[in-house]
Amino acid sequence: MTTAISVTDLTKVYGERSALSHATFEVPLGTVCGFVGPNGSGKTTTIRMLLGLIAPTGGTGTVLGESIAHPEKYLPHVGAMIEGPAFYPALSGAENLRVLASLGGFPQSRVSELLEKVGLAERGKSKYKTYSLGMKQRLGIAAALLPNPKLLVLDEPTNGLDPSGIQEVRNLIKDLANEGTSVFVSSHLLSELEMISESLVMLREGKVLFAGRTKDLLAAQVATLVVQPEFSVDLNSLVEIAQRHGRTASVEDGEVHIVADGEWSATFNRLAFNAGITLASLSVTQPTLEETFFEMTGE
């Protein structure tokens, strides 16, 4: 088994609306895989199918080597937080975890360990309804970790967390991945995903736009040369030079932006020098995951 998740032509149709259409992708074992897409693109539908909550209309899939038609075979090794945390408001955080530990047959001693791990040890006895959104989110993560999972499926785990909470979750995911846990995480915080995801699955309108290594996706994007002349009167001349050499260029905020890969920067520097223009700065910017996402999804 080399994949944590593998789906082929996975499809879900509600009436005449297709929520997911022939999705095919793999999540390598022991890696962090980001799952991105605009709202309504089919992320949650996919996660629900992987967890046996809804039945696919078509296609096949495996999770930890077992068919998604038999979730009972792999779910004991899967931790999940889907569509945000959901718990019993009248029970304490600890008691909520104990309910799930009883259900899954996990040792009750895991409850205090996990409350400690997610920073809720002091509030474990407080009723869930008194928790802030961030605390609820932490409890959801603790619940997902109850089975000591081989695969962790997290849907928007940083929702409602403050910056330090986001950083803690990021570190937690990294630690789990280092310990060999596969993590499949959906998030709208693309900068966070860029930092932790080795691979990425991108959806739009129920279709897979990209599935593969994050660095392959980013490397395939065209870079931008950002050039600032010593004197702003030379801005338009620089645009003309770039355009004469077949490049797309424009002036933005006192800088010239030229669509070109990094290797062309030396050539452009020489062209500007030959035209008598001194450059105050020249840098190459690679598109971020966020920019790539907007570019690809057209959002």
């Binding site: 967890l51 899967v78 889907i82 019993y88 009248a90 008691e95 104990r98 309910v99 009883s102």
Partner: protein, 263 residues
């Protein structure tokens, strides 16, 4: 399945639910039993549907269990509300998906939940019995009721039969609540439908067209606890209740197994 039952019992023993249910059951039982005994010498109705229960009747073995079984209908309604809310809240809170991830066999979830409800119902009926017998014993001298016949072997055998019958009534109403909970997937809708149907619609229907009493589920459920009535036999009520509940439970179990969990 036992894991599900253990998990459910953790939820059922939460203080807000447990204490309020204990108080409601104890208060209703004490109230109705007190009415039976305190009005026993008035010559006016002190029993079910205005029936006159004399001190002589209460001095027989029946006196031990009368207060106990008179509350069966309200005990049933309490079970209906608890069973309906415990089932439907999994949908409204979104916790069903957590349960299904930890226990993917939906039938194990359903029957594990049901088993926990049976345990809860047994506890309710036991509480009802203790409060009713305690109240009856305390008020018997005041009502000039002798209790020597209450602790004979035949009285204790009647107590055992009544316990089972009240439990069956409580479970029947509770199962009805659970069915409504699974069907409506909302505690408010399930409880409102169950209570309005059992308390209002059936009472009106049965009162206006008495022949319908034989077919009304709530009336038949309660008739089990009473050991049958002049118009509808115990055996009929037991049979028709079993048929109604088996069919309805079968349908909702099928829906529960097949329906997508999308919230």
């Amino acid at each position: 399945m036992l894991r599900v039952t253990r998990a459910e019992l953790r939820k059922l023993r939460r203080p807000t639910l447990l204490i309020s249910t204990i108080l409601v059951v104890a208060a209703l039982t004490a109230l109705f039993t007190s009415i039976v005994f305190l009005r026993a010498n008035s010559g006016q109705g002190n029993g079910q549907r205005g029936e006159v229960i004399s001190p002589a009747t209460l001095s027989s073995a029946l006196g031990l269990v009368y207060g106990f079984k008179i509350v069966s209908f309200f005990l049933g309604i309490t079970a209906l509300c608890v069973f309906a809310s415990q089932t439907a809240q999994e949908y409204t809170l979104g916790t069903l998906r957590n349960l299904l991830v930890r226990q993917p066999s939906r039938m194990k979830i359903l029957f594990g939940k049901y088993l926990s409800m049976i345990i809860f119902a047994i506890a309710l009926v036991f509480l009802d019995a203790v409060v009713a017998i305690g109240t009856s014993s305390a008020l018997a001298p005041h009502a000039k009721v002798t209790t020597s016949a209450w602790f004979t072997s035949s009285a204790l055998s009647l107590l055992g039969r009544t316990f089972i019958n009240v439990l069956l009534t409580t479970l029947a109403f509770g199962t009805f609540g659970m069915i409504l909970g699974l069907l409506f997937r909302s505690p408010i809708s399930a409880i409102a439908t169950g209570v309005i149907w059992s308390l209002i619609l059936e009472t009106i229907l049965g009162g206006v067209v008495s022949s319908t009493q034989k077919w009304l589920p709530g009336q038949n459920f309660d008739n089990i606890a009473q050991g049958g009535s002049l118009t509808v036999s115990y055996r009929w009520s037991l049979g028709i209740s079993a048929i109604y509940l088996s069919v309805a439970f079968g349908i909702v179990a099928f829906l529960f197994k097949r329906r997508d969990v999308a919230n």
